[in-house]
Symmetry: D2
Subunit: 306 residues, 4 copies
């Protein structure tokens, strides 16, 4: 079976080549716009210790929205079900940065994986954790069991400079009393967490706890409870892929989370974590080749969760 | 393990009693408004032949929106991926009968489980299958391996009489050229399929093919392919519970479909089909006690798909 | 001064020629799509009996939405302020046939000049006036003092055949209990009133009561009170030009009403009624050359109401 | 006739008393929330020099949104039709501070009298006029011919502190490249202009140029052209009263502008300017008693523009 993953990833690396031309890199900040879109990496880690990676799997990239899973995990660990008073857990049906639904629903974001929801989660951590940025990075380092994971502060500054839409979301929530701290300070942490850089191999490792009932198999630490693990996976499946969760569930069939840096990471509960990276994005903001690679992965392995 | 299901269902039947007071029966037509809301039934069927039921499991009720899974299955079987030209497969983020998104998105419904999407699916079947109503019922009878399943035509007439919202949806789609047949004829079939009556035991049986890779274990018939089966399950998980798919995935963690008659049916792929019925609904239009019962079921059995 | 109107209209007829190429005729029904868009007419009638017309002012055309002013007048005459329980009097900010706002605002249309609002007005007349279609036409004939005004029933049938959007609006209102009669019967009357044909000269005459404190100077009949007259004029100014009322008020500065048949009619309270006709429409559905002609009219005459 | 205005205002002062109980003062900032709502003033100034005032007409209050007319006038004077590239002139159909339409329409505000539109206008002045705040106040002083008009900077600071919704609007426009300067600097000027204080008598004087073809009769200065004057009046009539322009046009029938400080000022072109003040607001944010007083004014004087 594990030999299979090698064969499957090698085959995908070959078949994915024509897809690397397609898609467009995120262009709203220079740090993302200047990335070569022909790059591709894929990495799988099973809960019992096997791993295999192909392509540019040691090249670090910006994890962007994938960081929302880490902050949600932190917040659920610290505050439990309290967080659901300030954010819902339903798919949004609109773009990840839309203000429309947020206004209609009085400043309560639809889920923790759209920008507004993630900002609320970061705000709740900011209220309770000093030196918030460093604590978030350290949490990620522990997940990967690697102290070299860093924030790219140049990217973070750039995000801040062009982050008017996020400023609008935060201000609107503040006007509805759903942001407790200083807007600029919360956004600074938010842009920092989005600017964490990882390579594809480490990204795959970082989600192992979600494939392993909340226990990080690299350190044997119980990150969150089994119940919380299932719930984060359920949230990823229903809300993790921007405005194409339905399409991703239909084609790939795994809980996962994507970022505009071109990374996507998914898990087969009980079995493995799999990460892909390719910077060219489709219209929904998900990696074009990455989505295709994951579709091939579950097709060849016949192993969606459905 | 199978002994477990008996214990679990017996325990749920006991614990669910206080929840039967809660919720409100659907009141838009007399046929639904006059049902006693204190009724409850639950039935489980494993793919290898075990079954157990508790409560009012022989009492027939109106399956309503659950019929959308059957017509989608029929349409996928007949037309394959053609159907996705006329309906998307993303969660809607709005009420099941809303016209807002449908207008913004030029008459293309968000998914086949909101009313507009289901009407499009019925329209496509109507174009290709003569005696459409009877064919749909016969398809359901074969799934359950029971020729006594009937439509309640009194309910159907009542639906038609009060079905102005569905008429609005169909007319709007017609104005965008996304309805090919006569509006009244398509709606008649649609109201007929919603008015199919089943008891909880048969409802559980009817979804066994979705738990068994597309094969109906009662008849050994290959209803649809394994790939299509996984896709219908993915669609149910992301779009099957009206505007509370996220909450249902979070609390129950199974692909399922609900109806305003108070029925909900879900599957654990590879393992079993489980149906509940209790007519009192929560604000989202899902059975109040039914949702709770399924939450207890996956909690006690520790068996969500995540 | 009256000599001025002759000079002004003659000058406009000359200067408007290059604008007749622009715009597109309404193409949703054959009866409107087949009209030659190079036609133009303009006609002015003062309250004290002077009149002058240029261009194709004897050619009849479909008055379409202009009929909404006549039915509103009839309804205000018959039911007074009662009508405002079922329709508001605010600009809509959205397209004339949009369902979005109607759904958000529970089936109460924004004003009597968008389709939904006009259908509600027709419904209220239908409830109280037998032989409704004939009564509406007769009311218009009396305004013009001309018994030859007719409905083009071919146009009306065509409207009905392609009127799915209006069917959607009516059905949505019915679902909110804001339509009291049979949908098809009300829409038949509605399509009939829209299919009344007049030439530009008669159209100008028909609005004289709105320029003359509610009294028709052709017959000396008090059509409505002075107070109601002012109010209809206010409604036309704020809601009479589809989604470009602001632009029309800015450029022309007169209360008026347009139709997709290419007619526009406006009044200078206390002074005159002026009608234009040219079938080519701008993006908002108003006559392209007609709007320009009215802009020239108030510019050359220095006589907007502001 | 002028004697009439005295009689009418005296009568209104008497009849308005029961209405002063109704309505609620704006409560989003202390500076407005602490005002006694039982106050009332009304002041009329004719273009030929007659004036009469009743009630608390010497008590200064915050002009708030009425300032939008002054900045629009300044911008039209300086930039002419250039400004319409960045803001439309259509009624919005939604609340004055809504982000929904602004997002759907890519950051182009509906008109210069909703908050987003007024911020764009202030941004354009900020780009071209140094010491912007002082220049705006000085412009208003010249209109009233009174150098004592001041900004209440305490109100302004308070607005800034609670101005998250306006921050959201400005940020959203910035994300669409429709704000050229630093958000905080533009908002500071905007909050300053809203915090200008005037008494009712001066407010009435300040609009005389709009009743007098663009010429300020107090100074004989040509503020703007006659054409621009008509256009500002047209804009006030279609967009000047938040989300109740239609109702105001219907009941009062004059171009006017309101503010949440409880002031409303309107003009009869060619004749007079009339201001009212009473701090209790109706649901639309317009002075409750003020609207009623203006309705009585045009009813008793029979002098709407329609």
């Amino acid at each position: 079976m594990k030999q299979n993953y090698k064969l499957i990833l090698d085959r995908i690396l070959e078949e994915i080549q024509p897809f690397l031309e397609k898609g467009e890199v995120a262009n709203y900040i220079p740090a993302l716009a200047n990335v070569d879109k022909k790059q591709f990496a894929m990495s799988v880690h099973t809960v019992d210790g096997f791993s295999y990676s192909v392509g540019d799997y040691e090249k670090p990239f910006s994890i962007q929205s994938i960081s929302k899973v880490f902050t949600l995990t932190l917040a659920m660990k610290k505050f439990g079900d309290e967080i659901w008073k300030r954010v819902k857990r339903e798919p949004s049906g609109t773009a990840f940065n839309s203000l429309v639904q947020l206004e209609y629903e009085n400043g309560i974001p639809r889920n923790p994986f759209i920008n507004a929801g993630a900002i609320v989660i970061t705000d709740s951590i900011f209220s309770n954790v000093k030196d918030t940025t460093n604590n978030i990075v350290q949490f990620v380092r522990n997940l990967v069991n690697n102290q070299n994971i860093q924030i790219n502060f140049e990217t973070s500054k750039s995000e801040q400079e062009y982050g008017h839409r996020n400023m609008a979301l935060a201000s609107l929530m503040k006007s509805f009393n759903n942001l407790n701290n200083n807007i600029n300070q919360v956004l600074e942490v938010y842009f920092n967490q989005c600017s964490i850089e990882m390579n594809c191999k480490n990204l795959s490792k970082s989600f192992l706890y979600l494939a392993n009932k909340g226990v990080n198999p690299l350190t044997n630490e119980q990150v969150i409870t089994i119940r919380q693990t299932k719930r984060i996976n359920a949230l990823m499946l229903t809300c993790g892929l921007y405005d194409s969760v339905g399409d991703f569930a239909y084609r790939v069939g795994l809980p996962g989370k994507s970022g505009v840096g071109g990374g996507i990471v998914a898990v087969i509960p009980g079995t493995l974590s799999v990460a892909v990276w390719s910077p060219g994005l489709n219209k929904s903001g998900n990696s074009f080749a990455g989505t295709k690679a994951l579709e091939l992965f579950t097709t060849y392995g016949c192993n969606s969760i459905f």
